[in-house]
Assembly symmetry: C3
Homo-oligomer: 139 residues x 3
Amino acid sequence: MKSYRKELWFNLPTRLGFVNITQQVEACLKESGIQEGLTLVCAMHITASVFINDDESGLHHDYEVWLEQLVPHEPTGKYWHNRTGEDNADAHMKRQVMGREVVVAVTNGKLDFGPWEQIFYGEFDGRRRKRVLVKIIGE
Amino acid sequence: MKSYRKELWFNLPTRLGFVNITQQVEACLKESGIQEGLTLVCAMHITASVFINDDESGLHHDYEVWLEQLVPHEPTGKYWHNRTGEDNADAHMKRQVMGREVVVAVTNGKLDFGPWEQIFYGEFDGRRRKRVLVKIIGE
Amino acid sequence: MKSYRKELWFNLPTRLGFVNITQQVEACLKESGIQEGLTLVCAMHITASVFINDDESGLHHDYEVWLEQLVPHEPTGKYWHNRTGEDNADAHMKRQVMGREVVVAVTNGKLDFGPWEQIFYGEFDGRRRKRVLVKIIGE
């Protein structure tokens, strides 16, 4: 069994945003030399997500509006977590809706995807350096 | 390490619906001959889910009602994604709530499940042919 | 390839609650002797979650309040699932929001975590004995 590990770093200029990381994960897979196995891609921070969906800017706008309705950032004082001096309680919940991680099959040395699947880093408390872990196991 | 791959195809007659695919995944596992490992079951489309929950029709009705409250299909014009000519923005969000994938342990050649765990395909934009990927790795 | 399996048991005194199980999972990993691979940690029951987030009691309070807003427990009669004699339909939905499972990379014999990642058992229908499965594969 082979294994491969890499960290991808991000620093988004906004509090909330989405970055297509599919090509970076494909580059990791190529570098790993693994032909058959599983790829884990996960946020290493608890106010961020990794998820698979469509690379369409209108949809990303819709996600922002919808997540803000489900878990409003303000008034920040209504969240007990923010009494610790943070203002990011909503980000910890938005991340649960969008998910921490994806597991992607590796087949014939490629990410085994349907026609529109793209991997995204979802940031809900940006303006700081944060990481995504790519771990691949297989042969 | 062994690996196994199969696609399962679906074409639901309704926009939204749930299909119990546990037996199909069990058949894949048997065919793979793998005794110890991990099974990934994931939607290959971004308006569908694979999830594990109860095979109880009342609960499935409750899921439909609840998902429609969280992300109404209509008015379709309120979603920017639908300006692309689609009407399925809500389906992209419902899929995030229910999840893209499950990872199931394989122990002694069986899906290693608790008493009520069943695997479902969740469709949120049906009336077309769509796929689920089953990938198993192990020994 | 090595594989390891263990069940962790819980019996929470309340309907809803969160338990930090990180140390128990670390003990499993140590016992497994696996240095490189993947760890699956999943609820074996469909009204419970395993998720990764912050070990901060204010945040856990916020999760409770928010989940109750998204899926109120009462009036229990509004859920068709509860016509079966259950009163836990809401628990089946709360578990979908928080997730069934996490997959954690194993690197150099450790859970490969960012600075604040902690694994939690999330209970939404407690006051009974329930299980979490830890399955580790690798070398």
